[in-house]
């Protein structure tokens, strides 16, 4: 019996039980996702894109999709220990992939902006969703995204009209209760930003329990002409859990995106980020930090597709790897034939803090235009001894110097967060997280 079989068998029952909850067009979309999932199967080490990432631990989990909201007695107090708990934001909380209204801010549909759940949006705003849902990340070449297309439960729907601005950041908090091994949730978000609109959107993934559970999320975003978005994802799930996520963004002319990824949790965490630069004059910054220890594997797979001329893209990814952990970074940049005057840059730096930590980094540049600037740099190494000496020569102890450099390495990424309160919160979180690692792990 193949690992995919249970998912396929269960789907008919899922379809029957959920019939009537969604508009008619949703099920063909789900079915197509399932069919594609069945065709692709779960990836193995033989798949080029997965050759560094062994997911047999995920495929061997018991099959337990959480398709109904779990009765939960969670109170706001239970969430106060997580980052961003007191950020002034519009907060939507999802527990195991299902919306939890009491823990969330009231949903708003003000002039120009809709911040609501995907379920509610499907019930009321059919046409915008029909044109966009699962259009950009159906999972054509991505089994997990295809599985999400089949089995998604709920998530956020954010829509901004032209010229409108979200007055506060939107904070999407996805909580995995993590009680039973194999519990799997499939949250899905759809974000549509009109021309010249502006938003700050946070996605945060946390765990309450420590059982090995799977979160398989997909976020699709469309940015209209001149739209400005700061997007930040914080993945801080339990060390034994599994997190697979896909972010796909379609950018239009003159839009400006900065998307941050902070990945700290999960035994296996895999993040796909795909950006399609579909207009001229786009600015796209992908900025990320991954911190892994123990037996963790944190994997980022990026695709930046320069489909039009005169766009700038910049990827900055730093990895801090201790224990027996592994960091994987695969950065693909495609510059299409007519995408002249493209300026694309990619930098991936990995700091190995133990002898057993490993990093795999693979830049992949496919350039079909002839008037472009495309640079990439990857480093895997230890703390720079010249930097350590400089600090010691000024009176700072060797241990303190190493800590400063490690914090500095993370700080380079955090410093790029534009929203001051968000940056301050992440600064504090990362500081504490790094300090709590025992000195032996921080590369003495």
């Amino acid at each position: 019996m193949k690992p995919t079989d249970l998912y396929i068998q269960h789907f008919e029952r899922f379809e029957r039980e959920a019939a009537g909850q969604h508009p008619g067009w949703v099920f063909p979309t789900r079915k197509a996702g399932l069919a594609r999932f069945a065709e692709l199967g779960f990836p193995t080490l033989k798949d080029e894109d997965w050759r560094f990432t062994n997911i047999s631990a995920i495929t061997q989990l018991p099959f337990r999709p959480v398709l109904e909201p779990v009765a939960t007695s969670l109170s706001p107090g239970d969430l106060s220990k997580f980052a961003f708990a007191s950020l002034d934001a519009q907060r939507l909380v999802f527990v195991d992939g299902h919306f939890n209204a009491p823990l969330s801010s009231p949903l708003e549909e003000s002039n120009g902006a809709r911040v609501t759940t995907l379920s509610m949006a499907l019930a009321r705003h059919g046409s915008a969703l029909e044109r966009n849902l699962a259009r950009y990340a159906p999972g054509e070449n991505n089994a997990f995204a295809a599985l999400n297309t089949a089995y998604f439960t709920d998530g956020a729907f954010i829509q901004l009209d032209d010229q409108s601005r979200l007055p506060r950041p939107v904070h999407l908090l996805f909580v995995s209760t993590g009680q039973t091994a194999g519990d799997a949730s499939h949250p899905r978000n759809l974000i549509l930003l009109g021309a010249n609109s502006q938003a700050t959107i946070l996605e945060q993934f946390v765990s309450l329990g420590s059982a090995p559970c799977l979160t398989n999320s997909v976020t699709e975003m469309v940015m209209g002409d001149g739209a400005h978005l700061e997007h930040l994802k914080l993945q801080d799930q339990a060390a034994a859990s599994f997190h697979v996520a896909t972010l796909q963004v379609q950018l239009s002319r003159s839009s400006d995106l900065i998307s941050h990824s902070f990945a700290f949790g999960g035994r296996i965490a895999r993040q796909h980020i795909g950006t399609t630069l579909g207009g001229q004059g786009i600015e796209c910054v992908l900025n990320g930090l991954y911190v892994a220890d123990g037996e963790q594997l944190i994997d980022h797979h990026m695709v930046v597709d320069h489909a039009q001329p005169h766009c700038n893209s910049h990827e900055y990814y730093n990895g801090l790897l201790a224990g027996h952990s592994r960091g994987v970074f695969h950065g693909r940049i495609i510059v299409r034939k007519y995408a002249q005057k493209t300026d694309a840059k990619q930098t991936n730096k990995n700091l190995l803090l133990s002898d057993d930590a490993t990093a795999d980094t693979k830049p992949q540049l496919e350039i079909y235009a002839d008037d472009v600037k495309c640079t990439h740099g990857a480093t895997i190494g230890q703390l720079n001894p010249d930097s350590i000496f400089y600090l010691r020569a000024r009176g700072i102890s060797k241990e303190m110097a190493k800590r400063m450099l490690i914090h500095g390495f993370a700080g380079e990424i955090i410093d790029r967060i534009r929203s001051a309160p968000v940056r301050a919160e992440l600064d504090e979180l990362v500081w504490q997280r790094l300090e709590s690692h025992q000195p032996a792990r921080l590369g003495s």
Partner: protein
């Protein structure tokens, strides 16, 4: 009662990876003195600076170096700095992600702690910074950046001297501080060094050219060639070298040998 020398080096022999670079250096620096160490490339000047500051990777074969009477070569680099030894780097390194102000305050406070002085809080620290940064004509805004990040060559060298002003060392080792500086930057750096001179501290100016020594006037000049101090003299020696070149001295030494 004679005052104790700040630095006393006796017959120091040192090298790296089996190669001997310093072949018996002896040098005494007393409070209030400026010593210049000049020499052609490869003579061992930077090795001397690195060994005094405590950089790893060199092996000391024989000889001693004491700092305020203590065995210098036995001390960790950070302890040497806290004891009052300062090295102005020839190539100051950029340290991305480490904020300049944060770094400098940590350094200043380590030195103060070691001396038994109260540590500066953020407010007091900034007051001292404001006062001393003017000395080097540096923009305060530079201190909001990571250490040396995006600083021009001249700014980096001025930043070294600014750090010196903040740390108040008893011995400042200036490793080719003049290299890469234009006339204006040279003047500012030299004025900074001169302003920081006192009867109780000393400077060891390591340089290839005599240019800086027009502004920072040495009391003693030592010429280092092939790992040895081949001649010592007053400031006229520097002028003579400028005029006649290192070859002149090399030939004299060869004849004498």
């Amino acid at each position: 009662m004679t005052t104790q020398p700040i630095l006393e080096i006796k017959d120091l022999v040192a090298g790296v990876e089996g190669r001997e670079i310093l072949k018996g250096i002896s040098l005494t620096v007393n409070p209030g003195e400026v010593h210049a160490v000049m020499g052609p490339n490869g003579s061992g000047k930077s090795t001397l600076a690195a060994i005094l500051a405590g950089r790893e990777g060199y092996d000391i074969r024989s000889g001693t170096a004491t700092f305020h009477g203590k065995d210098l070569l036995d001390l960790d680099p950070e302890v040497r700095a806290r004891e009052g030894l300062f090295l102005a780097f020839q190539y100051p390194i950029e340290i991305p992600g480490v904020n300049s102000t944060y770094f400098l305050r940590a350094a200043v406070n380590e030195v103060r702690k070691h001396k038994g002085l109260p540590e500066f809080d953020a407010v007091d620290f900034l007051a001292v910074v404001k006062e001393k940064i003017k000395l080097l004509e540096l923009d305060e805004a530079l201190l909001k950046r990571p250490v040396n990040a995006g600083f021009s060559g001249g700014e980096k060298k001025r930043n070294e001297i600014f750090q010196m002003a903040m740390l108040e060392p008893s011995l400042a080792i200036l490793d080719e501080t003049d290299s890469g500086l234009d006339i204006d930057a040279l003047r500012i750096v030299a004025e900074g060094i001169n302003r920081l001179k006192s009867p109780t501290n000393a400077q060891l100016v390591i340089t290839h050219y005599q240019r800086l020594l027009n502004y920072v006037v040495p009391d003693f000049v030592h010429v280092l060639m092939g790992g040895r101090i081949v001649r010592s003299g007053g400031r006229e020696l520097a002028l003579e070298l400028e005029e006649k070149g290192y070859d002149w001295l090399a030939k004299l030494e060869a004849v004498a040998a």
